[in-house]
């Protein structure tokens, strides 16, 4: 699948909109998920996801076939996200609000009553979302790239433009900071519940 990305990107470089449309369909959910978790606002995330692909289309002449298209795309998304955070001086991350009306159409349906385990999961999800909200953008993004996008250290390094050694230490710091948040808000660490 990823092999064909670069082929499609090369075709898109020549102005092939259908090739670009395939790339958009292939990557829109990943980009959206990342941007949404960075910004915390669905509307902004939808805008910024669109902007990311428009910018990618516009910048395609500068794309080098040696660079993985997905990495390059995430660089664009990430830069746009940080720009927005800076521009709006959104110092405080806005946690995702599940109760916001109008969101139901795009959310997984969930009618059944929650078993106890699900409730515990919900609480833990809440803890994680609050922890993410409290982290500096630099730590939030690296956690998302690793944990949500499942990128290797090499891929993260390429996306963020840092050394792999920095990926290692920054990720460890981000994890430690997130765990400290869990403890602060719940008075427990994740493993205590499992023990």
């Amino acid at each position: 699948m990823d092999d064909a990305d670069e082929e499609l990107a090369a075709r898109a470089q020549t102005g092939d909109r259908q090739a670009f449309a395939l790339l958009v369909r292939r990557h829109q959910e990943r980009v959206f998920r990342f941007v949404l978790r960075m910004l915390g606002s669905r509307d902004e995330a939808m805008d910024l996801t669109q902007d990311t692909f428009l910018k990618a289309w516009n910048a395609l002449p500068a794309w080098q076939p040696e660079a993985r298209f997905a990495t390059w795309l995430f660089q664009i998304a990430r830069n746009a996200t940080l720009d927005l955070l800076r521009r709006r001086q959104l110092v405080e991350f806005v946690p995702l609000d599940a109760d916001t009306p109008g969101e139901a159409a795009c959310e997984p349906r969930d009618g059944a009553p929650l078993p106890e385990e699900r409730l515990a999961d919900r609480q833990r999800i809440g803890l994680l979302e609050r922890a993410l909200a409290a982290l500096p953008a630099e730590q939030r993004e690296i956690l998302l790239l690793r944990e949500l996008e499942d990128m290797s250290y090499a891929e993260i390094a390429a996306t963020l433009g840092i050394h792999e050694g920095t990926v290692k230490s920054r990720l460890a710091r981000a994890r430690a900071a997130a765990l400290a948040h869990y403890r602060h808000h719940a008075g427990e660490s994740p493993d205590e519940r499992r023990a």
């Binding site: 999961d121 949500l148 493993d191 499992r194």
Partner: protein, 155 residues
């Protein structure tokens, strides 16, 4: 002799161990220590539990076909190296309006690439397109709905 006398494993190495990013020698050293040190094992379990929590985050979805939404706007933006002159959506618009839209978008995208100050011209361009949205169904379903509650998340 035993693990208690050694230095504990650093967060850096525990975290990299979890991600299977340590080289073979470091991996062996960490595993040897973990087998004998409950403190480091507990720390690793913390990292692993945190990692597992990410899998539980709700699967958010963009909710519609973005390629369809932006198709019309790709046509408006000068393609990188066009080989085929495309009639595209401009044929759908009155001549003057189409030209104006192209210019407005060109300016908007230029501003976006230069960074900063892009928000205003982009919105201007959007308003030109609103009457005839390319991929209109998706725009109606997702984009317009989103626009209704713009700012709802900002406190």
């Amino acid at each position: 002799m035993n693990a208690a006398h050694e230095a504990h494993i650093t967060d850096n190495d525990l975290s990299a161990h979890l991600d299977a990013e340590l080289d073979a020698a470091a991996q062996r050293r960490v595993e040897g220590h973990l087998a004998a040190c409950p403190r480091c094992a507990a720390r690793l379990a913390d990292f692993a539990a945190l990692s597992a929590d990410f899998d539980r985050l709700p699967q958010e979805s963009f909710g519609c076909d973005l390629a369809g939404v932006i198709a019309g706007r790709l046509a408006a933006v000068a393609p990188p190296r066009p080989r085929i002159p495309a009639p595209g959506w401009r044929g759908l618009l009155p001549l003057g309006l189409g030209a104006a839209a192209s210019v407005a978008l060109g300016i908007a995208m230029g501003a976006a690439l230069l960074g900063g100050g892009a928000a205003l011209p982009r919105m201007t361009a959007m308003s030109v397109f609103d009457p005839i949205p390319p991929g209109g169904l998706c725009l109606d379903a997702c984009y317009a709905r989103g626009a209704d509650k713009t700012g709802a998340f900002i406190k």
